[in-house]
Symmetry: C2
Subunit: 328 residues, 2 copies
Amino acid sequence: MEKEKIIIDCFGCDNPESVIKGVAKTIRNLPEIKLIAAGNRKTIEEILKDEEFDKSRLEILDAEEIITNDDSPVDAIMHKKNSSLVQSFLRLKNDGEVAAMVSAGSTGAVLAGSSVILGRCEGVDRPALSAFLPTDDGKEVCLVDCGANVDCRPEQLLQFSKYGADYMRCVHGIAAPRIGLLSVGTEDKKGNALGKATFKLLKDSDLNFKGNIEARTVLCGDVDVVVTDGFAGNVLLKTIEGTANSMIKKTLYLLKKHLPKEYDGSFIKSAFAELMQQVDFNSLGGGVILGVKKVIVKCHGSSNSDTIFNSVRQAVKMLEGGFNKTLK
Amino acid sequence: MEKEKIIIDCFGCDNPESVIKGVAKTIRNLPEIKLIAAGNRKTIEEILKDEEFDKSRLEILDAEEIITNDDSPVDAIMHKKNSSLVQSFLRLKNDGEVAAMVSAGSTGAVLAGSSVILGRCEGVDRPALSAFLPTDDGKEVCLVDCGANVDCRPEQLLQFSKYGADYMRCVHGIAAPRIGLLSVGTEDKKGNALGKATFKLLKDSDLNFKGNIEARTVLCGDVDVVVTDGFAGNVLLKTIEGTANSMIKKTLYLLKKHLPKEYDGSFIKSAFAELMQQVDFNSLGGGVILGVKKVIVKCHGSSNSDTIFNSVRQAVKMLEGGFNKTLK
């Protein structure tokens, strides 16, 4: 990591100020990191003027325009040439010293830019979006695809499985990552037409394929990679989020209701603060765009400075683990 | 409900004894109900011999065979003629006094029997399986299809929406149930090929269509019916179950960890007992097979006596609300 730089797209997200402060935080906390912050120079300088960090390790890439969630992703990538995102992609593509990008901007635009500007790895049909979920045994499971490709062919799901396995091998040092195919039952013959065809491909592949897995056991830690199409993967991901929120609300309400009057409830707050850390997307970093020529971490639109720090750390782990070599 | 009877398939589930005890419990708690318990007469009589209930309101339908989850559903329906499930279906089909059936047996076999023995409503292409989920505002949302049809056409999703609306109208008295189409975003154009085509059909229908809904807001109570194909619906349903279990485990562990030593933790148990009631499938009754000629409630394979009681009560509500008339 001595020479490699990581570029942060600072705009197009819900809280650019938090993202920009995250740049300073990351430099403070990762002693050797060199970052490039892309976006309006004046705004970035203004937000960073009171932050203490080693300014020699930051470069600002001036870019006036912003791609928003309301823009058509492909149009925006084609026409908003001076946006923080397009400028980030161009630099990532053309500068051999820049090894990775982190963005909290429009998912569609990040995916479009990955294909249109940066380019796919050889033999890759479509890039995929992965998410990393905390498992019950304190590890994480890679879910791919979680929304990039809502209609898929079996060959694509096979590719997604390979990307996911590469990630878990490089970042977590798992020699033969266990692959599970999301289905409606664990039996070999369960599944929709796509699943049944994919099952055969996975079984004939040299991947460590563990068969079908049901959605209810995704968080149990039985497999390292869960592969599915982007529609079902997105449903799974957002259901986890919605259910976790709903459970937290219900549980807090009932704990307060049953708490004896003479007890101080502050320990409940502490327990939930720790719970939030375990299940919070911000503390987990971001998803990764798989199948493209460099490392791209796409974090949540509502990312804060912690997310940026965690996402950069995740990109560093990928680079140190040799993930960029798997892209060749 | 004076003359109508409800038939309970007592076997093919995880705990037939609990189901059979649930028959007695239901008769004790619903003063006018008449039930038929299908299954091995000796076993049923043995289990019920110490139960107190009005025996004049129970008939036993003797059936030796059992259809299990390992049987091929269609084969089992065709060949296990003396199974509790097939006998239940034959009685339901042929006896005008029997208005509904409750089964905790193999979902595939219940679906197969619904089509093969009982028969679909006129114009219905495929029956669907619905589930009812507790929303944050204390009501419930109907999810259809949650696993019966893993590959669907848009016209089927339109039919499922109609079934779901009928149910919510009859059982909950909602005049114009709000329909949401499960998608990867709330914008009109979001979705896979199936979703985009279904969106148009729903928009042109006379249903109260509220557009696309994301999985994360399914439990918020913004719509009364969520429609999707059986693959995504099954993923959604099982993800809720898995995430709820995972959250309960994590939260309990952290509460115990943070609980001050001098505090008695029994109030946490009380809070979680109430939480479990709210999120437990057993207390909610069962799913409903929609699109077939009579009322069929399919409850969880691990159903206990409470589930049976709740499922019969659910069937009664459907009959009292005139749901069987919508089937004509």
